[in-house]
């Protein structure tokens, strides 16, 4: 009888402890992330446009009206196209470059690997705001870039660029390549060095080591970085917001800036803004799913 009693107590203590530990974090998370996500989808099919959320003018549902509006807006496609450029630069620029740099440093081909790594990663840690304004001033008509070009081509005149996305893409490449370098180095270091040494002693060339040992060992990491690059590219906001704010004439706009403008610039259109963010989430999930599918089909060796 007394034993049963303590067992019951212990069970009760266990339950109480569980909820005491879980609830504070969970409540914050639910109210800040989970609920707003659902609320966002709800807003995207409503006609809510400012004013009181509750007790004001009743909110009615308009179905997929805003999605329809979105798909006929040329600025949506312009922003989407720019997002895709960023995805391409990330997947085919940052990842290969980051891998190349990581490989050189990991294999000990150059000395002072630590120094190179520290310097190349440096741009990634600095506030996007600082980076954005710095590059904006660098590329501006009065900045250093026209001056640099004139060193090589004295007749260069600053004009409005036909490709305003190029500087933006360059800065994205400049800023985030270091992140992939770090990810690849960390995972390269997990490979058993003895295997590589043994292969080298058996006469395998550096290229064979790369192709037969290192790349297969990293196939999982390559997929992870691709997912990271895709979702990161679709999220890009801060840097472009500071550098160009989407201008000139929305030509460097991306989906998140397009959404921001609809919600916080001029007369707010919250339903349309939320339709954009919902579409962003769907695109992101679809691309991640596609990457996983490609991995399952062609790679899959982990």
């Amino acid at each position: 009888m007394p034993k049963e009693h303590t067992l019951l107590d212990a069970k009760r203590e266990q339950k109480r402890a569980y909820w005491t530990l879980v609830l504070p974090g969970f409540l914050i998370y639910i109210s800040v992330m989970a609920f707003p996500t659902i609320f966002s989808i709800f807003l995207s099919i409503s006609d809510y446009n400012g004013g009181k959320l509750f007790g004001g003018k009743p909110i009615s549902f308009v179905g997929l009206k805003w999605y329809g509006r979105l798909f006929v807006d040329e600025y949506f496609y312009l922003a989407l196209k720019n997002n895709l450029y960023i995805v391409l630069v990330s997947v085919f620029g940052q990842i290969p470059l980051g891998f190349f740099l990581a490989y050189v440093l990991y294999r000990g081909i150059v000395k002072k690997a630590d120094f190179f790594q520290t310097m190349i990663y440096l741009p990634t840690v600095i506030s996007t705001v600082v980076i954005g304004i710095l590059w904006k001033s660098f590329f501006a008509p009065y900045g250093a870039f026209p001056e640099l070009v004139r060193l090589f081509n004295p007749t260069y005149e600053y004009g409005i660029s036909n490709h305003p996305m190029l500087p933006v893409l360059f800065v994205i490449l400049w800023m985030y390549t270091g992140m992939y370098l770090i990810i690849f180095i960390a995972n390269l270091q997990k490979i058993d060095g003895a295997v590589i040494e043994a292969a080298r002693i058996d006469g395998a060339s550096e290229t064979q080591v790369l192709g037969n040992i290192i790349l297969p060992a990293l196939s999982g990491v390559l997929v992870t970085t691709a997912i990271l690059a895709i979702s990161g590219s679709l999220k890009s906001f801060d840097l472009i917001y500071v550098m160009t704010a989407g201008g000139p004439a929305n030509r460097t706009s991306v989906l998140s800036i397009y959404m921001f403008d609809k919600a916080f610039k001029g007369a707010p259109n919250y339903p349309l803004a939320n339709a954009i963010s919902t579409v962003m989430v769907i695109i992101s999930f679809a691309l991640i799913g596609l990457t996983k599918w490609v991995e399952g089909k062609f790679g899959g060796r982990e």
């Binding site: 974090g25 707003p36 996500t37 190349i120 440096l122 710095l134 001033s137 990810i183 992870t224 997912i227």
Partner: protein
């Protein structure tokens, strides 16, 4: 025979030289813009207009003195410290508490609750920005410190929970069980056994939260309106972004905005790179 060996070593030496050249090129590319910025922050605006690429003829510090006062930087830095400090401590506490419960206290709810946090890893700030703005307004927290802190903590939570739970799961169950048999309550076990053991992953979570929160700029921009509540990045954007012709001051303001993270990076280089790698593998 000797000839073959010689050409081989020459070729590999050229290869090595090329590799060094490439590495040095990327390193210079990475830091040149930052050096350019620092260099020009010591020029007067007049000198910058004449000399955009070279060293200053005369190193002046007036830009820094002006920006520091006019940009209200002491206040901005203090705010950033408050936001980052509280967010990091709260994220660590809440996510390790929940992580311990998920990992070591049997409960049917764990699957759903932990799963909902993992989904949070995939959610983006954009998808919650507008609703969050409306909700914060609705509950009356617009333009308050608390109205910034609660979203910051919630956003940092999924990563903290994910890394914390994984790590605590790897701690042997036997340790927790023997403490239970000795009569320790779960809360006691958490405080005196789990917290010290989870310190290494605590550092990783702290690093990720600090860098993420310190550089955050979009959310605080829409959730606050008064200058007294803004953080360093927002202040830099407002001050330096508006100085479109006074480059000297603009560059000085950017350098001030850059220094805290630079110092943090140089001090915690190893931990930061480890944290980034750990955080990335979540996918």
């Amino acid at each position: 025979m000797r000839d073959i060996k010689d050409t081989k070593s020459i070729r590999s030496r050229i290869g090595l030289l090329l590799t060094y050249a490439v590495m040095i090129f990327f390193t210079v590319m990475a830091i040149y813009p930052l050096l350019w910025l620092v260099m020009n922050s010591f020029k007067t605006t007049t000198e910058f207009q004449m000399n955009k690429l070279g060293f200053p003829k005369e190193w002046v510090t007036i830009n820094y003195r002006d920006s520091w006062v006019r940009g209200k930087f002491p206040n901005l830095i203090l705010n950033s410290l408050i936001y980052t400090g509280i967010t990091t401590v709260a994220t660590l506490c809440f996510s390790f508490m929940a992580g311990f419960a998920f990992a070591k206290i049997p409960n049917k709810a764990t699957k759903v609750l932990h799963g909902s946090f993992v989904i949070g890893l995939l959610l983006t700030l954009q998808s919650i920005m507008v609703p969050l703005f409306l909700i914060i307004n609705w509950v009356g927290l617009y333009n308050s410190r608390l109205g910034v802190l609660i979203p910051y903590i919630g956003i940092a939570m999924p990563m903290g929970i994910y890394l914390g739970t994984e790590y605590i799961r790897a701690i042997p169950d036997a340790l927790v069980e023997s403490a239970r048999i000795d009569g320790a309550t779960y809360l006691r076990i958490f405080a005196s056994l789990i917290v010290p053991m989870a310190a290494p992953v605590g550092v990783t979570v702290a690093i990720l939260t600090v860098t993420g929160t310190w550089n955050e700029f979009m959310l605080i921009n829409i959730l606050t309106s008064s200058d007294a509540l803004k953080s360093l990045p927002v202040g830099v954007q407002k001050f330096a972004g508006a100085l479109s012709s006074d480059f000297g001051k603009q560059f000085a303001a950017l350098v001030i905005g850059l220094i805290p993270m630079l110092v943090f990076y140089l001090f915690f280089r190893k931990e930061i790179t480890k944290g980034v790698a750990a955080g990335a593998v979540k996918g």
